[in-house]
Amino acid sequence: MNSFRYIPASIEEIKKIYKFIGIKDKKELFYKIIGDIHLIEGKELDFMPDQMDELSLYKYFSDINDKLRSSGSIPVFAGAGIYDHYVPSAVDAIISRAEFYTPYTPYQPEVSQGTLMALFEFQSMLASILQMDTVNASMYDGAESLAEAVLMSLRIYRQNRQTGSDVGNSKKIKILVSKSVNPIYIEVVKTFIKDLDIVIEFTDIDPKKGYTNAAHLKEKLQENKNICAFIVQQPNYFGIIEDLEIIEKIVHSEKSASSSNPHLIVCSSEPFSFGVIAPPGFYNADIFAGEGNSFGNYMNFGGPLLGLFAAKKEFIRQMPGRITGKSKDDKNQDAYLFILATREQHIRRQAATSNICTNNSLNALRAAVYLSLCSKEGFKEISLLNLKLSHILCEKLIDTDLFSLKYTGNFYNEFVIEINNKKMNASEYINEMMKKGILAGISLEDGGNAVLIAVTEKISIKDIDNYVNRAVELFS
């Protein structure tokens, strides 16, 4: 008998190794290594539960899964950065291949061509969806990816300022952010830049339309000299489509005192929208940072997700994370490998473009399989279906006269409604709807009456009608 099911050593073999290395027992082994530092023994491990055989373990978690029935298998109308899209079985089947999920990072390309070629395809597909030059092999999530985009922009800005002939170096660098960006993303950006001598300023949104106020953006750019970037989300946190054409013109043509215009950083938490609306690259975005979880990944209670990062080609040496490239082997066959590794921490240490090492490669692979399955037409159609369904729900809700649309700008698959009945606030509404088996949305702010609602292709017309009927019931 072996001592534990994951350990392929019998009691006899363990004894044999002890004998071979000339050590009596565990006590001596540790004593020779750690000296008189305390060795945990017997009862000290009582805080640990008893070992569980596989069947008990399965039953234990299966029970938990059952308890979550009323929250894990209900129609989801909540988005706010993470969307409940359907994951085809083929994605799970491919990802459950041990050849994909059990290897390490492909630093030895000869034995990792599968992962590397799949990542290359991931980069290619995303580059096309976003219309950006270069996509990396993934970051952790949308928020962290955006924070890295800010650091990258800051780095480029500092470099330009250093070499540029203009002065004004004493002034603090600023980053301009639209108030329509996901507040969680902004919080993460704040954590990243806190000790780095850089300040955030916000541009207002149009209170009726829900998109960035272009005039205010212009004003801000004119009154501030040291802005390294402007961050806008597409579609924005409220689901509204930003007019990137106007924004880009303002950001890239303002003559500020610095040698170059601020970077346009576009972020997104729902890149599925780019099957219908024009992608960030079309508007000349310098950097894109976003959340790719919508492509073939589960919500997993918030992680792991899929950080997307893309930039113009000219910035490739400033990009964080791994980049997969194509080359040839000794026999002139196509071969894939990580390139421009000198940007990374294992070579450049503190001068690296980022500290990231482990990324969310397997989630990127899920996205690659998913997008391949969708193919060109499927991707566009699912994207359109999301748009349609959200508009159908929105229309039906407004028709009840129980809700009004908070922002009237064009939206993709997410929108904000306000509850007309002042007796119930958004959290109470969501709570009551949960009791009816529907995750009805996200409360936009504590105690407020605005609900952020998202609709994906997983929602049927029946679900939509049920949502509307339950809401009507609630207020009658």
Binding site: F4, Q51, F100, Y101, T115, Y140, T191, N300, L387
Partner: protein, 540 residues
């Protein structure tokens, strides 16, 4: 001839999927959604302003056009080009490539768990919050620390979080300290993480010199720029932090030391308690990089080393799969006095009341778990939600499967296996062992002395062992070991497997460089032209 796992076989060719397209094909059929006639015929511009629409001419969408069957075959063929833990011994030093239990995958794919939206109100997710809470309790027990955050998504994110906590600690104390001391043998993430957190990393020489660098290998050398010289003080070789040397760097500007233990030579930092004492006396903190916690789990608490703050890699010690590069999870644990600085959101526990109780759930202890977003001195938010829950779940399941009966066996056997390999390599590779007298911990390190006398570079060796059916060890790291070969067997490998690997190493040495410079031969592709790929990058 001995039989090794590596063999020849049919290797599939497979083109990029985009090159296999037929116009109009797709691997999905649209969900019907019972769309009524009015909506079926509508297009995007019936809902939104046409100026926002994607236009195929300006923004061509270059996705493949293939069926489900073609997609599945494509990725299945690709997968056959990978070596993985399930197919081969993967003794990648510093990476803890242990077996990934299958039950954990089953659990993580349970339907209601994987489909949970992270912004559900706490009443509806009590079992999930309880898992995180309980796992926190177990990690505290195993490390001797007082609280963990699970928000960091990987080891480097954990380091960054830890560094931010240290920043905040001194900010609240109103002390200005900018320096973080980092031994030169550390992982590159350490200086990078401390730098982006706003510190100035200062490298401490571990005073270890393997041999001066005369002819650093042109290919594959990870760190040998022309500025990087080996310290040639052979007599002082010991492989861990030297107290006299460390003292030179300690001053009032030092915020913390970042210390990897066991260090990247696979050795226990013998002076760690003295280091901690010196740091604490100076008002500085001790951060431990717990990437190598597999050497301690169940046998040593890091609190006994004097550690104030630590990150763990669930994708190493706690058996969660590496996923070909990620996702991971890098929880950070702290002592009581640093709790207030942990990131938000966090979980707190209180007693159940009629108000918070949800009908479907009945916790035996009557505990109720809440998610909190506010904390006065918190460093703030570092990830979108609560970290990589699906990874935490797997790691928790791993600990439950081990239980108190088995938890201490993990590190014991990991250490035994590494020392078994170290000793078995002695007859042939004694000249390559920089620490012949020492017991190693979970991994052992060799230099390239023995191979080089046969004209075999470390890179050649690594590529050769592939054909024998093994994944190569970590190579050229740590940088102060010449042509380093870093072997970490983990506890989930058998004596037979280790023996076979050692036999292969010896055979490679015997066969000499004629064979090894042309390796690998049995893989899908041969050695790559890295210069071409980096000179003219093709990335899509």
């Amino acid at each position: 001839m001995k039989k090794f796992p590596g063999s020849k076989g049919l290797v599939f060719n497979e083109d990029l999927l985009i090159n296999q397209s037929s116009k109009g094909l797709s691997g999905v059929n649209m969900p019907s959604n019972n769309l009524s006639g009015v909506h079926i015929g509508k297009t995007a511009k019936d809902y939104i302003d046409a100026k926002f629409l994607r236009n195929e001419e300006n923004s061509p969408l270059l996705l493949p056009e293939v069926s489900e069957s073609t997609t599945v075959r494509h990725f299945t063929r690709l997968s056959s080009w990978n070596i993985c833990v399930d197919t081969a011994f993967y003794p990648l030093g510093s990476c803890t490539m242990k077996y990934n239990p299958k039950i954990n995958e089953t659990i993580a794919s349970l339907n209601n768990i994987k489909n949970l939206h992270p912004m559900l109100s706490a009443a509806y997710i009590q079992p999930v919050l309880k898992i995180i809470y309980e796992f926190n309790r177990l990690l505290c027990g195993l490390t001797g620390l007082n609280e963990f955050t699970f928000n960091p998504q990987a080891g480097a994110a954990g380091e960054f979080t830890g560094m931010k906590i240290i920043k905040k600690y001194f900010e609240v104390k109103n002390e200005k300290r900018n320096i973080v001391l980092i031994p030169d043998s550390s992982h590159g993430t350490n200086p990078a993480s401390s730098y982006i957190a706003g510190f100035t990393p200062v490298e401490i020489k571990t005073l270890f010199a393997d041999k001066p660098d005369g002819h650093s290998s042109r290919e594959g050398a990870q760190n040998s720029g022309k500025d990087n010289e080996f310290v040639s003080i052979q007599s002082k070789s010991k492989g861990y932090i030297d107290i006299t040397e460390l003292k030179k760097y300690i001053n009032e500007d030092v915020a913390a030391i970042m210390i990897t233990n066991p260090n990247t030579f696979g050795l226990f930092e013998k002076n760690i308690r003295e280091v901690a004492e010196l740091m604490h006396k100076n008002g500085s903190l001790v951060y431990m990089d717990g990437a190598n916690f597999n050497a301690f789990i169940g046998n040593c608490k890091v609190s006994d080393f004097g550690v104030d703050i630590l990150h763990l890699n669930l994708h190493k010690t706690f058996s969660t799969p590496h996923g070909g590069g990620g996702p991971g999870s890098g929880p950070v644990g702290v002592k009581d006095f640093l709790k207030e600085f942990l990131p938000v959101p966090y979980i707190s526990v209180c007693k159940q009341t009629p108000n918070n109780k949800q009908a479907a759930d009945d916790d035996e202890q009557g505990d109720y778990y809440e998610l909190k977003n506010e904390k006065e001195h918190s460093i703030g938010r570092i990830s979108s939600f609560y970290g990589n829950f699906a990874i935490i779940l797997r790691a928790y399941s791993y600990l439950l499967s081990l239980g108190k009966q088995n938890i201490s066996k993990i590190s014991e056997i990991a250490i035994l296996n590494a020392n078994y390999m170290k000793k078995r390599l002695k007859d042939t590779f004694i000249e390559s062992d920089p620490f012949p007298e020492e017991l190693c911990m979970h991994e052992c390190v060799l230099n390239d002395n023995v191979f080089q006398s046969e004209g075999i570079s470390t890179l050649d060796f690594a590529k050769s062992i592939i054909d024998y059916g093994f994944h190569p060890p970590t190579i050229y790291f740590p940088k102060n070991i010449h042509g380093a070969i870093m072997i970490e067997p983990t506890e989930t490998e058998s004596i037979k497997t280790m023996d076979s690997f050692i036999d292969a190493m010896k055979q490679i040495k015997k066969k000499g460089n004629k064979y090894s410079t042309k390796s690998p031969k049995n893989t899908k592709i041969r050695r790559l032209n890295e210069v071409l790929a980096n000179k003219n990058p093709i990335f899509k």
